[in-house]
Amino acid sequence: MLSAGLGTIIWTSIAFLTVLFLLGKMAWKPMLKSLKEREDFITNSIKSAESANNQLSQLKAENEKLLAEARMEREKILKEARETGEDILSKARKASVEEEQRILAKAKQEIENEKAAAIAELKSQVVSLSIDMAEKLLKREFESKENQVKLVEENLKSATLN
């Protein structure tokens, strides 16, 4: 049983070397090649997935940053708007007050002016009226000679001649 027959050795050699060759060409070569391809593919896929994930999280962070910035910007704009509004309002208020006061002052001035003019008018009218009246009085008073003399006398009496 433990003697190796030459026939067995020859047949086995032919058979084993044939199967080695055939499997090598037919099976192992494509199998090992595509196994390697698949492994590389999986490795690359995982790698690219990881990088995509990284990119995504980066993008997300960027987005959040942008959003925060936008929010801040909005706050700023709103604040500015409010301030501007208030400013405008206060300015307007101030302006209106000033205008009012100016108008008021102007009105007062005008009133004063009118008043002064009226007073002046009144004065001149009073003067002319008084003059007229005085004229008329005088005319009437000094129509007689005796009144003229009387006046002169009276004035002389009141005047102290020293």
């Binding site: 026939g7 050795i9 020859i10 499997l23």
Partner: protein, 396 residues
Amino acid sequence: MTIRIKIAELQKFKLKSIINRKVLLLLFTLFSFNLFAEHDINSDSTTTENKHENKFDAGTFIMHHIADAHQIHFFTLNEGKENEKHFSIYLPIIIKDQNGINVYSSSNFYHHSHTIEINGKHQHYYSYNNYVMFDEKIYKAEGDKGLMLDGAGKILNQSVLDLSPTKSIIGILITIILLLLMFGSAAVKYKKNPLKAPTGLQAWLEPMVLFIRDEVAIPSIGKDKADRFVPFLLTTFFFIWLANLLGLIPFIGGFNVMGTIGVTLVLATVVFIITNINGKSHYWTHILWPPGVPFPIKLILVPIEIISIFMKPMVLMIRLTANITAGHIIILAFTCLVFIFGQQSAGAGYGAGIGSVLFMVFMYFIELLVTFLQAYVFTLLTAMYFGSAIEEPHHH
């Protein structure tokens, strides 16, 4: 596994009852199957004469069943009777001698049976034309003298070159066909869509291919150099494993491919050749002039190293053959146990039969593991030898 039993041998026991015989036949039909054409046996008169004298000899029986043969024998019907029928595939016998190449069917030999007494034991041998066949080895016959022995039982006949495709060779061919079919069809799928996940047979084979590549080849040889050796390791692993599994299948004649020393011799020789033609200077210097070793020790070490070059593949060869043969022997031994007890009494035969079958089932599971384990060990050690051959000197 060789559970089939040649019923010719069973009949040699003096069975106590018909019932007992029927039970045993039933037991053995479990392990054998009617498949092939039958032939009537043209037994020599000497054969029948001695039949009743023979007692069941477990050793001869087992050795006969684990040995390579020129036929694939399934079973025999009507043992020892006039209408005895053998169910076998008779393989061609190719003989080369000074007369040129002769091709016969082995049925010619197996149907010319003779009995001869060797060292007090009755043994069978077969004859045809000018040849005799004893213990599956073929010799030249001188005239009609048959097998000639000297006083010590040594065969005097001139041996001839036997180039027959024996049972183990048929086992190898079946293994090869299965390998080509399995991996050929899997490879087609890999070619078609290399990036898809494996399906079907491919999914079953892929983990094992990866196992050999990633757990055997790469750790032993190194990642960058393993690629060159992976196809050989894969072929070796699957060839051995499948051949071993073939030997476990009952009813098909009990192949013992890796238990045939000629087969493992070829495998070990190929390993030896590949290892040594790939041997780098580092490998050879460590064998022929080991550095850092005092001169007197070198004198001892170098011959040992040189012997070890041959020893390593030899150990591979013997380990594989011995393990596979041992598995077959154990199961056959349990089978024999039934007949040994059966010779005593029917009851003992039944009892031993139940126990033996349980043990055989257990052993089958162990053997299933061993088929894988031995293929793995052979491949792993081969990878390690390759690894040591191509190892680069590392600086400490």
